[in-house]
Protein backbone atom coordinates (compact mmCIF):
# COMPACT_ATOMS: atom_id res chain seq x y z
CA UNK A 1 0.00 0.00 0.00
CA UNK A 2 1.44 3.32 -0.92
CA UNK A 3 0.70 6.92 -1.56
CA UNK A 4 2.21 7.99 -4.89
CA UNK A 5 3.47 11.49 -5.47
CA UNK A 6 4.56 13.47 -8.53
CA UNK A 7 7.48 12.49 -10.72
CA UNK A 8 10.85 14.09 -10.01
CA UNK A 9 14.21 14.09 -11.82
CA UNK A 10 17.02 13.12 -9.43
CA UNK A 11 20.38 11.40 -9.07
CA UNK A 12 20.56 7.88 -7.62
CA UNK A 13 22.18 9.28 -4.50
CA UNK A 14 19.31 11.68 -3.92
CA UNK A 15 16.78 8.96 -4.63
CA UNK A 16 18.31 6.90 -1.85
CA UNK A 17 18.20 9.83 0.56
CA UNK A 18 14.57 10.53 -0.37
CA UNK A 19 13.70 6.86 -0.03
CA UNK A 20 15.18 6.87 3.46
CA UNK A 21 13.10 9.87 4.46
CA UNK A 22 9.98 8.22 3.04
CA UNK A 23 10.85 5.21 5.21
CA UNK A 24 10.92 7.57 8.23
CA UNK A 25 14.69 7.46 8.75
CA UNK A 26 15.33 9.74 11.73
CA UNK A 27 19.13 9.80 12.10
CA UNK A 28 21.84 10.05 9.47
CA UNK A 29 25.57 9.78 10.16
CA UNK A 30 27.88 10.68 7.30
CA UNK A 31 31.45 11.28 6.27
CA UNK A 32 32.56 12.78 2.94
CA UNK A 33 33.74 10.43 0.21
CA UNK A 34 33.10 10.53 -3.52
CA UNK A 35 30.86 9.33 -5.20
CA UNK A 36 28.24 9.40 -2.42
CA UNK A 37 28.51 12.97 -1.11
CA UNK A 38 25.06 13.93 -2.37
CA UNK A 39 23.51 11.65 0.25
CA UNK A 40 24.93 13.36 3.37
CA UNK A 41 24.60 16.76 1.71
CA UNK A 42 20.91 16.21 1.04
CA UNK A 43 20.33 14.74 4.48
CA UNK A 44 22.11 17.56 6.31
CA UNK A 45 19.10 19.77 5.68
CA UNK A 46 16.22 17.47 4.77
CA UNK A 47 16.37 15.06 7.69
CA UNK A 48 16.37 18.00 10.08
CA UNK A 49 13.25 19.37 8.38
CA UNK A 50 11.70 15.94 8.84
CA UNK A 51 12.31 16.17 12.59
CA UNK A 52 15.38 13.95 12.63
CA UNK A 53 19.08 14.56 13.23
CA UNK A 54 22.24 14.63 11.13
CA UNK A 55 25.84 14.31 12.25
CA UNK A 56 28.90 14.68 10.07
CA UNK A 57 31.06 12.22 11.94
CA UNK A 58 34.82 12.47 12.44
CA UNK A 59 35.36 9.29 10.41
CA UNK A 60 33.51 6.37 8.87
CA UNK A 61 34.46 4.39 11.96
CA UNK A 62 32.61 6.89 14.14
CA UNK A 63 29.66 7.18 11.73
CA UNK A 64 29.06 3.43 11.80
CA UNK A 65 29.27 3.40 15.58
CA UNK A 66 26.80 6.27 15.82
CA UNK A 67 24.55 4.12 13.67
CA UNK A 68 24.98 1.26 16.11
CA UNK A 69 23.99 3.54 18.97
CA UNK A 70 20.93 4.99 17.25
CA UNK A 71 19.81 1.59 15.99
CA UNK A 72 20.14 0.10 19.47
CA UNK A 73 17.49 2.56 20.66
CA UNK A 74 15.08 1.29 17.99
CA UNK A 75 15.23 4.44 15.88
CA UNK A 76 15.47 4.21 12.07
CA UNK A 77 18.97 5.30 11.17
CA UNK A 78 21.34 5.23 8.24
CA UNK A 79 24.86 5.87 7.04
CA UNK A 80 26.39 5.97 3.57
CA UNK A 81 29.90 5.75 2.21
CA UNK A 82 32.02 4.32 -0.56
CA UNK A 83 34.44 1.42 -0.68
CA UNK A 84 37.36 2.35 1.65
CA UNK A 85 34.87 3.99 3.99
CA UNK A 86 32.81 0.81 4.12
CA UNK A 87 35.94 -1.13 5.05
CA UNK A 88 36.24 1.17 8.08
CA UNK A 89 32.61 0.62 9.02
CA UNK A 90 32.86 -3.13 9.07
CA UNK A 91 33.88 -3.61 12.70
CA UNK A 92 30.69 -1.82 13.72
CA UNK A 93 28.63 -3.71 11.14
CA UNK A 94 29.86 -6.95 12.70
CA UNK A 95 28.79 -5.63 16.12
CA UNK A 96 25.38 -4.70 14.71
CA UNK A 97 24.98 -8.18 13.26
CA UNK A 98 26.20 -9.78 16.51
CA UNK A 99 23.92 -7.70 18.72
CA UNK A 100 21.06 -7.69 16.16
CA UNK A 101 20.78 -3.96 15.66
CA UNK A 102 18.72 -2.85 12.64
CA UNK A 103 20.33 -0.21 10.41
CA UNK A 104 20.81 0.72 6.78
CA UNK A 105 24.24 1.20 5.21
CA UNK A 106 24.79 2.44 1.66
CA UNK A 107 27.91 1.61 -0.33
CA UNK A 108 28.40 3.53 -3.56
CA UNK A 109 31.16 1.31 -4.87
CA UNK A 110 34.17 3.06 -6.40
CA UNK A 111 37.30 1.64 -8.04
CA UNK A 112 39.88 -0.15 -5.92
CA UNK A 113 42.02 -1.61 -4.50
CA UNK A 114 43.55 1.03 -2.27
CA UNK A 115 42.56 4.56 -3.13
CA UNK A 116 41.67 3.33 -6.64
CA UNK A 117 39.58 5.99 -8.33
CA UNK A 118 36.21 7.65 -7.86
CA UNK A 119 34.64 5.96 -10.87
CA UNK A 120 32.15 3.10 -10.88
CA UNK A 121 33.19 -0.47 -10.03
CA UNK A 122 31.83 -3.63 -8.47
CA UNK A 123 34.98 -4.67 -6.66
CA UNK A 124 33.20 -4.66 -3.29
CA UNK A 125 30.88 -7.57 -4.05
CA UNK A 126 32.79 -9.89 -1.70
CA UNK A 127 33.11 -7.17 0.94
CA UNK A 128 29.39 -6.44 0.78
CA UNK A 129 27.95 -9.94 0.58
CA UNK A 130 30.30 -11.99 2.78
CA UNK A 131 29.78 -9.97 5.91
CA UNK A 132 33.19 -8.49 5.36
CA UNK A 133 33.91 -7.80 9.01
CA UNK A 134 34.98 -10.38 11.59
CA UNK A 135 32.98 -13.39 12.65
CA UNK A 136 30.25 -15.53 11.10
CA UNK A 137 27.59 -13.07 10.14
CA UNK A 138 25.54 -12.11 7.13
CA UNK A 139 23.28 -9.24 6.25
CA UNK A 140 20.92 -8.47 3.42
CA UNK A 141 22.66 -6.84 0.47
CA UNK A 142 20.43 -5.14 -2.10
CA UNK A 143 21.76 -4.18 -5.55
CA UNK A 144 19.58 -1.57 -7.29
CA UNK A 145 20.06 -1.09 -11.03
CA UNK A 146 18.01 2.06 -11.68
CA UNK A 147 17.34 5.29 -9.82
CA UNK A 148 13.71 4.28 -9.20
CA UNK A 149 14.86 0.95 -7.84
CA UNK A 150 17.36 2.75 -5.60
CA UNK A 151 14.42 4.65 -4.08
CA UNK A 152 12.24 1.55 -3.76
CA UNK A 153 14.96 -0.66 -2.30
CA UNK A 154 15.91 1.93 0.31
CA UNK A 155 12.37 1.80 1.66
CA UNK A 156 12.53 -1.98 1.54
CA UNK A 157 15.91 -1.96 3.31
CA UNK A 158 14.39 -0.29 6.38
CA UNK A 159 11.54 -2.81 6.36
CA UNK A 160 13.93 -5.72 6.26
CA UNK A 161 16.23 -4.20 8.90
CA UNK A 162 13.41 -3.90 11.42
CA UNK A 163 11.59 -7.13 10.52
CA UNK A 164 14.74 -9.20 10.93
CA UNK A 165 16.76 -7.04 13.35
CA UNK A 166 19.73 -6.84 11.04
CA UNK A 167 21.95 -4.35 9.27
CA UNK A 168 21.04 -4.09 5.57
CA UNK A 169 23.49 -2.91 2.95
CA UNK A 170 22.54 -1.21 -0.30
CA UNK A 171 25.25 -1.74 -2.91
CA UNK A 172 25.29 0.79 -5.73
CA UNK A 173 28.12 2.33 -7.69
CA UNK A 174 29.24 5.66 -9.09
CA UNK A 175 27.03 5.20 -12.17
CA UNK A 176 23.88 4.74 -10.12
CA UNK A 177 24.80 7.45 -7.63
CA UNK A 178 25.58 10.11 -10.20
CA UNK A 179 23.00 9.30 -12.91
CA UNK A 180 19.85 11.43 -13.08
CA UNK A 181 16.54 9.82 -13.99
CA UNK A 182 12.87 10.60 -13.56
CA UNK A 183 11.35 8.64 -10.69
CA UNK A 184 8.00 8.42 -8.99
CA UNK A 185 8.53 8.77 -5.26
CA UNK A 186 6.01 7.08 -3.01
CA UNK A 187 5.27 7.08 0.68
CA UNK A 188 4.92 3.74 2.40
CA UNK A 189 1.99 3.63 4.77
CA UNK A 190 1.70 2.29 8.28
CA UNK A 191 5.38 2.36 9.20
CA UNK A 192 5.72 1.26 12.78
CA UNK A 193 8.21 3.79 14.09
CA UNK A 194 8.31 2.06 17.46
CA UNK A 195 9.05 -1.37 15.98
CA UNK A 196 11.85 -1.81 18.51
CA UNK A 197 9.56 -1.53 21.51
CA UNK A 198 10.14 -5.16 22.52
CA UNK A 199 13.90 -5.11 22.51
CA UNK A 200 15.40 -1.62 22.07
CA UNK A 201 17.09 0.32 24.84
CA UNK A 202 14.72 3.13 25.65
CA UNK A 203 15.11 3.40 29.41
CA UNK A 204 13.77 1.07 32.08
CA UNK A 205 10.39 2.81 32.14
CA UNK A 206 7.31 1.28 33.77
CA UNK A 207 9.59 -0.75 35.99
CA UNK A 208 10.48 -3.21 33.25
CA UNK A 209 13.67 -5.32 33.38
CA UNK A 210 16.78 -3.63 32.04
CA UNK A 211 17.77 -4.45 28.48
CA UNK A 212 21.19 -5.13 26.99
CA UNK A 213 22.29 -4.81 23.42
CA UNK A 214 25.53 -6.76 23.30
CA UNK A 215 27.61 -9.17 21.29
CA UNK A 216 29.90 -10.48 24.04
CA UNK A 217 28.96 -14.00 25.13
CA UNK A 218 31.53 -15.39 27.54
CA UNK A 219 29.42 -17.88 29.48
CA UNK A 220 29.95 -21.56 28.65
CA UNK A 221 28.07 -22.40 25.46
CA UNK A 222 26.52 -18.95 25.10
CA UNK A 223 28.38 -17.84 21.98
CA UNK A 224 27.68 -21.13 20.22
CA UNK A 225 24.01 -20.64 21.06
CA UNK A 226 24.09 -17.08 19.70
CA UNK A 227 25.75 -18.26 16.49
CA UNK A 228 23.13 -21.00 16.14
CA UNK A 229 20.41 -18.40 16.58
CA UNK A 230 21.97 -16.06 14.01
CA UNK A 231 22.53 -18.88 11.52
CA UNK A 232 18.89 -19.96 11.81
CA UNK A 233 17.88 -16.39 11.06
CA UNK A 234 20.12 -16.26 7.98
CA UNK A 235 18.73 -19.62 6.82
CA UNK A 236 15.20 -18.26 7.11
CA UNK A 237 16.07 -15.56 4.54
CA UNK A 238 16.57 -18.15 1.78
CA UNK A 239 13.08 -17.59 0.38
CA UNK A 240 13.31 -13.82 0.43
CA UNK A 241 15.41 -13.50 -2.72
CA UNK A 242 14.58 -11.22 -5.61
CA UNK A 243 15.86 -11.16 -9.19
CA UNK A 244 14.88 -9.65 -12.50
CA UNK A 245 14.57 -12.07 -15.39
CA UNK A 246 14.49 -10.48 -18.84
CA UNK A 247 13.89 -12.61 -21.94
CA UNK A 248 15.13 -15.70 -20.14
CA UNK A 249 12.31 -18.06 -21.09
CA UNK A 250 13.52 -19.18 -24.53
CA UNK A 251 17.10 -17.96 -24.13
CA UNK A 252 20.06 -20.20 -24.96
CA UNK A 253 22.50 -17.93 -23.17
CA UNK A 254 21.79 -16.13 -19.89
CA UNK A 255 23.83 -13.08 -18.93
CA UNK A 256 24.22 -12.82 -15.15
CA UNK A 257 24.92 -9.26 -14.07
CA UNK A 258 23.84 -7.00 -11.21
CA UNK A 259 23.40 -3.30 -10.52
CA UNK A 260 24.50 -0.84 -13.21
CA UNK A 261 26.17 -3.59 -15.21
CA UNK A 262 22.91 -5.53 -15.15
CA UNK A 263 21.26 -2.54 -16.74
CA UNK A 264 23.98 -2.11 -19.38
CA UNK A 265 23.78 -5.83 -20.12
CA UNK A 266 20.02 -5.44 -20.57
CA UNK A 267 20.63 -2.95 -23.40
CA UNK A 268 22.99 -5.45 -25.01
CA UNK A 269 20.39 -8.21 -24.64
CA UNK A 270 17.76 -6.04 -26.34
CA UNK A 271 20.10 -5.51 -29.26
CA UNK A 272 20.74 -9.23 -29.62
CA UNK A 273 17.01 -9.93 -29.47
CA UNK A 274 16.46 -7.47 -32.32
CA UNK A 275 18.85 -9.61 -34.35
CA UNK A 276 16.84 -12.69 -33.39
CA UNK A 277 19.53 -14.05 -31.06
CA UNK A 278 18.27 -15.89 -27.99
CA UNK A 279 20.02 -14.10 -25.17
CA UNK A 280 18.44 -13.33 -21.76
CA UNK A 281 19.38 -11.49 -18.58
CA UNK A 282 19.34 -12.69 -14.99
CA UNK A 283 19.85 -9.75 -12.63
CA UNK A 284 20.03 -10.61 -8.93
CA UNK A 285 18.48 -7.82 -6.83
CA UNK A 286 19.13 -9.43 -3.45
CA UNK A 287 22.85 -10.14 -3.65
CA UNK A 288 22.60 -11.72 -0.22
CA UNK A 289 20.55 -13.89 0.06
CA UNK A 290 21.56 -14.82 -3.48
CA UNK A 291 18.73 -16.03 -5.77
CA UNK A 292 20.36 -19.44 -6.25
CA UNK A 293 17.18 -21.47 -6.73
CA UNK A 294 15.91 -19.30 -9.56
CA UNK A 295 19.27 -19.52 -11.27
CA UNK A 296 19.50 -23.27 -10.81
CA UNK A 297 16.04 -23.69 -12.33
CA UNK A 298 17.32 -21.96 -15.47
CA UNK A 299 20.41 -24.18 -15.52
CA UNK A 300 18.18 -27.24 -15.33
CA UNK A 301 16.52 -26.11 -18.55
CA UNK A 302 19.89 -26.57 -20.26
CA UNK A 303 20.77 -22.90 -20.59
CA UNK A 304 24.32 -21.60 -20.75
CA UNK A 305 25.65 -18.72 -18.65
CA UNK A 306 27.94 -15.74 -18.99
CA UNK A 307 28.59 -13.66 -15.90
CA UNK A 308 29.61 -10.06 -16.52
CA UNK A 309 30.86 -7.88 -13.68
CA UNK A 310 32.69 -4.62 -13.21
CA UNK A 311 35.40 -6.50 -11.34
CA UNK A 312 37.63 -9.50 -11.90
CA UNK A 313 35.13 -12.19 -10.93
CA UNK A 314 33.32 -12.08 -7.60
CA UNK A 315 29.57 -12.69 -8.06
CA UNK A 316 30.79 -15.36 -10.46
CA UNK A 317 31.43 -17.53 -7.38
CA UNK A 318 27.78 -17.28 -6.34
CA UNK A 319 26.57 -18.04 -9.85
CA UNK A 320 28.79 -21.11 -10.05
CA UNK A 321 27.75 -22.28 -6.58
CA UNK A 322 24.10 -21.97 -7.58
CA UNK A 323 24.36 -23.98 -10.78
CA UNK A 324 27.34 -26.18 -9.92
CA UNK A 325 25.61 -29.56 -10.18
CA UNK A 326 24.16 -28.82 -13.64
CA UNK A 327 26.17 -26.18 -15.47
CA UNK A 328 29.01 -23.67 -15.36
CA UNK A 329 29.37 -20.00 -16.23
CA UNK A 330 31.78 -18.15 -18.48
CA UNK A 331 33.03 -14.80 -17.28
CA UNK A 332 33.73 -11.43 -18.82
CA UNK A 333 35.44 -8.85 -16.61
CA UNK A 334 35.15 -5.11 -17.07
CA UNK A 335 38.24 -3.74 -15.40
CA UNK A 336 37.55 -1.20 -12.65
CA UNK A 337 38.87 2.07 -14.05
CA UNK A 338 37.18 1.46 -17.42
CA UNK A 339 33.68 2.75 -18.14
CA UNK A 340 31.56 -0.01 -19.64
CA UNK A 341 29.21 0.46 -22.62
CA UNK A 342 26.60 -1.89 -24.13
CA UNK A 343 28.72 -2.06 -27.32
CA UNK A 344 31.68 -3.39 -25.39
CA UNK A 345 29.60 -6.33 -24.24
CA UNK A 346 28.56 -7.43 -27.72
CA UNK A 347 31.73 -9.26 -28.65
CA UNK A 348 32.06 -11.39 -25.52
CA UNK A 349 28.35 -12.24 -25.64
CA UNK A 350 28.55 -13.18 -29.30
CA UNK A 351 31.62 -15.35 -28.69
CA UNK A 352 29.78 -17.14 -25.92
CA UNK A 353 26.69 -17.63 -28.08
CA UNK A 354 28.80 -19.18 -30.79
CA UNK A 355 30.50 -21.38 -28.24
CA UNK A 356 33.97 -19.95 -28.80
Amino acid sequence: MSKKTERIFVKGNEAIARGALAAKCKCFFGYPITPQNDIPEFMSSEIIKAGGDFVQAESEVAAANMLLGAGATGVRAMTSSSSPGIALKQEAISYMAGSEVPAVIVNMNRGGPGLGDIGPAQGDYYQSTRGGGHGDYRHFTLGPGTVQEAYDLTIKAFDIAFTHRTPVLILGDAILGQMKEPITPWEPENIDEEAGRDWAITGRTDGREKRLIKSLFLEEGALAEQNRHLQAKYDSWKDLTEAEQFETEDADLIICAYGSIGRIAKSAVRKFRKDGKKVGLFRPITLYPFPSDELKALAEQGKRFLTIEHNLGQMLDDVRLAIRTVADSDFYPIYPGNLPTPDELEEPILKCLEGK
Binding site: K26, C27, F29, D53, V55, A57, E58, S59, V61, A62, A63, N65, M66, L67, L68, G69, A70, G71, A72, T73, V75, A77, E91, A92, Y95, S99, I201, T202, G203, R204, T205, K210, R211, L212, I213, K214, S215, L216
Partner: protein, 256 residues
Protein backbone atom coordinates in the same frame (compact mmCIF):
# COMPACT_ATOMS: atom_id res chain seq x y z
CA UNK B 1 15.56 -5.24 78.52
CA UNK B 2 14.66 -2.45 76.18
CA UNK B 3 14.83 -3.16 72.46
CA UNK B 4 17.79 -1.62 70.72
CA UNK B 5 16.91 0.51 67.71
CA UNK B 6 19.32 0.04 64.82
CA UNK B 7 19.76 2.72 62.25
CA UNK B 8 20.94 1.67 58.80
CA UNK B 9 23.73 4.03 57.81
CA UNK B 10 25.16 2.32 54.74
CA UNK B 11 23.41 0.21 52.14
CA UNK B 12 23.62 -0.82 48.52
CA UNK B 13 22.13 1.81 46.21
CA UNK B 14 19.05 0.51 44.42
CA UNK B 15 20.63 1.06 41.02
CA UNK B 16 23.51 -1.26 41.94
CA UNK B 17 22.56 -4.90 41.39
CA UNK B 18 23.11 -7.26 44.30
CA UNK B 19 25.75 -9.59 42.88
CA UNK B 20 29.47 -10.11 43.39
CA UNK B 21 31.64 -8.34 40.82
CA UNK B 22 34.36 -10.02 38.77
CA UNK B 23 36.89 -7.34 39.68
CA UNK B 24 40.19 -8.16 41.41
CA UNK B 25 40.50 -7.37 45.12
CA UNK B 26 41.39 -3.70 45.56
CA UNK B 27 40.26 -2.73 42.06
CA UNK B 28 38.67 0.70 41.94
CA UNK B 29 36.12 -0.04 39.20
CA UNK B 30 33.71 -1.16 41.93
CA UNK B 31 33.98 2.19 43.71
CA UNK B 32 33.35 4.08 40.49
CA UNK B 33 30.30 1.89 39.78
CA UNK B 34 28.94 2.58 43.23
CA UNK B 35 29.32 6.33 42.87
CA UNK B 36 27.38 6.22 39.61
CA UNK B 37 24.74 3.98 41.21
CA UNK B 38 24.31 6.38 44.13
CA UNK B 39 23.85 9.30 41.74
CA UNK B 40 21.37 7.44 39.55
CA UNK B 41 19.32 6.89 42.73
CA UNK B 42 19.73 10.36 44.19
CA UNK B 43 19.03 12.12 40.91
CA UNK B 44 16.24 9.69 40.03
CA UNK B 45 17.88 8.82 36.72
CA UNK B 46 17.93 5.01 36.56
CA UNK B 47 14.81 4.71 34.45
CA UNK B 48 15.89 7.24 31.87
CA UNK B 49 19.49 6.07 31.67
CA UNK B 50 21.05 4.48 28.59
CA UNK B 51 24.62 3.36 29.36
CA UNK B 52 27.29 2.77 26.76
CA UNK B 53 29.88 0.30 27.99
CA UNK B 54 33.31 0.01 26.47
CA UNK B 55 35.84 -2.77 26.00
CA UNK B 56 38.05 -3.32 29.02
CA UNK B 57 37.68 -4.76 32.49
CA UNK B 58 34.54 -2.65 32.91
CA UNK B 59 32.63 -4.07 29.94
CA UNK B 60 30.45 -5.86 32.50
CA UNK B 61 29.27 -2.59 34.01
CA UNK B 62 25.91 -3.62 32.57
CA UNK B 63 25.82 -6.60 34.92
CA UNK B 64 26.18 -4.35 37.96
CA UNK B 65 24.04 -1.29 37.26
CA UNK B 66 20.32 -1.63 36.79
CA UNK B 67 19.88 0.39 33.59
CA UNK B 68 19.57 -0.24 29.86
CA UNK B 69 22.90 -0.58 28.08
CA UNK B 70 24.58 -1.05 24.73
CA UNK B 71 28.05 -2.46 24.28
CA UNK B 72 30.40 -0.41 22.08
CA UNK B 73 33.40 -1.65 20.12
CA UNK B 74 36.80 -0.84 21.63
CA UNK B 75 37.27 2.94 21.81
CA UNK B 76 34.01 3.82 20.08
CA UNK B 77 31.77 4.41 23.07
CA UNK B 78 31.57 8.22 22.53
CA UNK B 79 30.42 7.65 18.92
CA UNK B 80 27.90 5.02 19.98
CA UNK B 81 26.68 7.35 22.73
CA UNK B 82 26.37 10.16 20.17
CA UNK B 83 24.05 7.92 18.15
CA UNK B 84 22.08 6.95 21.26
CA UNK B 85 21.66 10.54 22.41
CA UNK B 86 20.80 11.92 18.97
CA UNK B 87 18.19 9.21 18.57
CA UNK B 88 16.79 9.63 22.10
CA UNK B 89 17.62 13.18 23.21
CA UNK B 90 15.35 12.92 26.26
CA UNK B 91 17.37 10.11 27.84
CA UNK B 92 20.37 10.30 30.17
CA UNK B 93 23.42 8.88 28.40
CA UNK B 94 26.90 8.15 29.68
CA UNK B 95 29.93 6.13 28.63
CA UNK B 96 32.34 4.40 30.98
CA UNK B 97 35.80 3.89 29.51
CA UNK B 98 39.29 2.79 30.43
CA UNK B 99 42.47 4.61 29.44
CA UNK B 100 43.44 2.24 26.64
CA UNK B 101 39.92 2.48 25.29
CA UNK B 102 39.52 6.24 25.56
CA UNK B 103 43.00 7.70 25.19
CA UNK B 104 44.48 5.36 22.59
CA UNK B 105 42.22 3.58 20.10
CA UNK B 106 39.30 5.89 20.86
CA UNK B 107 41.15 9.21 20.84
CA UNK B 108 39.31 10.54 17.77
CA UNK B 109 35.87 9.61 19.09
CA UNK B 110 36.35 11.19 22.53
CA UNK B 111 37.84 14.40 21.12
CA UNK B 112 35.06 14.92 18.61
CA UNK B 113 32.18 14.00 20.90
CA UNK B 114 33.52 16.56 23.37
CA UNK B 115 34.13 19.14 20.69
CA UNK B 116 30.63 18.76 19.28
CA UNK B 117 29.35 19.30 22.80
CA UNK B 118 27.30 16.11 22.79
CA UNK B 119 24.87 16.23 25.68
CA UNK B 120 26.35 13.22 27.41
CA UNK B 121 28.79 12.28 30.15
CA UNK B 122 32.00 10.30 30.06
CA UNK B 123 33.41 8.50 33.07
CA UNK B 124 37.09 7.90 32.34
CA UNK B 125 38.89 5.37 34.51
CA UNK B 126 42.63 5.99 34.30
CA UNK B 127 44.59 3.12 35.83
CA UNK B 128 47.72 3.62 33.66
CA UNK B 129 47.50 0.14 32.09
CA UNK B 130 45.45 -2.02 29.77
CA UNK B 131 43.82 -4.07 32.53
CA UNK B 132 41.73 -6.59 30.67
CA UNK B 133 44.40 -7.72 28.23
CA UNK B 134 46.97 -8.28 30.95
CA UNK B 135 48.77 -5.09 31.85
CA UNK B 136 50.29 -3.67 28.67
CA UNK B 137 51.40 -0.05 28.33
CA UNK B 138 48.56 2.46 28.05
CA UNK B 139 48.78 6.06 26.78
CA UNK B 140 48.65 7.10 30.45
CA UNK B 141 51.40 4.76 31.67
CA UNK B 142 53.89 6.75 33.78
CA UNK B 143 57.50 7.32 32.70
CA UNK B 144 59.54 4.46 34.10
CA UNK B 145 56.48 2.29 34.80
CA UNK B 146 57.06 -1.36 34.05
CA UNK B 147 54.32 -3.04 32.04
CA UNK B 148 54.26 -6.23 29.98
CA UNK B 149 55.16 -4.23 26.86
CA UNK B 150 57.57 -1.83 28.57
CA UNK B 151 59.66 -4.36 30.50
CA UNK B 152 62.40 -1.78 31.06
CA UNK B 153 59.90 0.91 32.03
CA UNK B 154 58.17 3.46 29.81
CA UNK B 155 60.75 5.66 28.16
CA UNK B 156 59.70 9.09 26.98
CA UNK B 157 61.95 9.20 23.91
CA UNK B 158 60.68 5.80 22.74
CA UNK B 159 57.05 5.66 23.89
CA UNK B 160 56.18 9.30 24.46
CA UNK B 161 54.88 10.91 27.62
CA UNK B 162 51.69 9.95 29.47
CA UNK B 163 48.68 11.77 28.03
CA UNK B 164 46.73 14.13 30.27
CA UNK B 165 43.19 13.69 28.93
CA UNK B 166 41.24 16.01 31.20
CA UNK B 167 43.43 18.95 30.18
CA UNK B 168 42.88 18.12 26.50
CA UNK B 169 39.13 17.67 26.87
CA UNK B 170 38.85 20.89 28.87
CA UNK B 171 40.38 22.78 25.92
CA UNK B 172 37.61 21.77 23.50
CA UNK B 173 34.73 24.05 22.66
CA UNK B 174 31.82 21.76 23.44
CA UNK B 175 33.03 20.69 26.87
CA UNK B 176 30.83 22.04 29.64
CA UNK B 177 32.60 20.33 32.50
CA UNK B 178 35.93 18.53 32.85
CA UNK B 179 37.48 17.41 36.11
CA UNK B 180 39.91 14.89 37.52
CA UNK B 181 39.45 13.06 40.80
CA UNK B 182 41.09 10.02 42.42
CA UNK B 183 39.60 6.98 44.12
CA UNK B 184 42.43 6.36 46.60
CA UNK B 185 41.06 8.09 49.73
CA UNK B 186 37.65 8.82 51.21
CA UNK B 187 37.91 12.60 50.72
CA UNK B 188 38.99 12.06 47.10
CA UNK B 189 36.10 9.65 46.52
CA UNK B 190 33.68 12.23 47.90
CA UNK B 191 35.07 14.79 45.52
CA UNK B 192 34.80 12.33 42.64
CA UNK B 193 31.10 12.01 43.38
CA UNK B 194 30.69 15.77 43.45
CA UNK B 195 32.33 16.07 40.04
CA UNK B 196 30.25 13.26 38.58
CA UNK B 197 27.12 14.94 39.85
CA UNK B 198 28.10 18.21 38.20
CA UNK B 199 28.82 16.48 34.91
CA UNK B 200 25.44 14.74 35.11
CA UNK B 201 23.68 18.04 35.80
CA UNK B 202 25.30 19.67 32.78
CA UNK B 203 23.76 16.97 30.61
CA UNK B 204 20.37 17.21 32.26
CA UNK B 205 20.14 20.96 31.79
CA UNK B 206 21.34 20.63 28.19
CA UNK B 207 24.56 22.61 28.61
CA UNK B 208 27.01 20.22 27.02
CA UNK B 209 29.59 17.52 27.36
CA UNK B 210 30.69 16.37 30.83
CA UNK B 211 33.96 14.55 31.47
CA UNK B 212 35.27 13.11 34.73
CA UNK B 213 38.61 11.33 34.96
CA UNK B 214 39.06 8.98 37.91
CA UNK B 215 42.62 8.02 38.87
CA UNK B 216 42.21 4.37 39.82
CA UNK B 217 44.21 1.46 41.06
CA UNK B 218 44.89 -1.79 39.24
CA UNK B 219 46.73 -3.74 41.96
CA UNK B 220 46.85 -6.87 39.81
CA UNK B 221 48.73 -5.39 36.90
CA UNK B 222 50.72 -3.00 39.05
CA UNK B 223 51.75 -6.09 41.03
CA UNK B 224 51.06 -4.31 44.33
CA UNK B 225 48.83 -4.77 47.33
CA UNK B 226 45.67 -2.63 47.25
CA UNK B 227 47.18 -0.42 49.98
CA UNK B 228 50.40 0.11 48.04
CA UNK B 229 48.32 0.85 44.96
CA UNK B 230 46.50 3.61 46.84
CA UNK B 231 49.86 5.04 47.88
CA UNK B 232 51.10 4.94 44.30
CA UNK B 233 48.12 7.03 43.21
CA UNK B 234 49.07 9.64 45.81
CA UNK B 235 52.84 9.58 45.28
CA UNK B 236 53.17 9.06 41.52
CA UNK B 237 49.93 9.68 39.73
CA UNK B 238 48.46 12.77 41.39
CA UNK B 239 51.66 14.84 41.00
CA UNK B 240 51.60 14.18 37.25
CA UNK B 241 47.80 14.17 36.88
CA UNK B 242 46.74 17.04 39.19
CA UNK B 243 43.24 16.77 40.64
CA UNK B 244 40.57 19.42 40.29
CA UNK B 245 38.11 21.07 37.96
CA UNK B 246 39.60 22.05 34.61
CA UNK B 247 36.49 23.48 33.03
CA UNK B 248 33.14 24.49 34.42
CA UNK B 249 31.12 26.64 32.07
CA UNK B 250 28.68 27.66 34.77
CA UNK B 251 31.56 29.78 36.02
CA UNK B 252 32.53 31.00 32.55
CA UNK B 253 29.18 31.82 31.05
CA UNK B 254 28.30 28.90 28.83
CA UNK B 255 29.46 27.06 25.74
CA UNK B 256 28.22 27.87 22.28
Amino acid sequence: MSEMKEKLVFDRPESVIDRPTHYCPGCHHGIAHRLIGELLDEMDLAEKTLMVTSIGCSVFLYNYLNADAVEAPHGRAPAVATGVKRARPDKFVFTYQGDGDLASIGMAEIMHAANRGEKMCVVFVNNTVYGMTGGQMAPTTMIGQITTTTPAGRCQTHEGAPIRMTEIIASLGGTAFAARAALNTVPNIKKAKKYLKKAFEFQLNGTGFGFVELLSGCPTNWKMTPLKANERIKDEMIPYFPLGIYKDVSEEGGVC
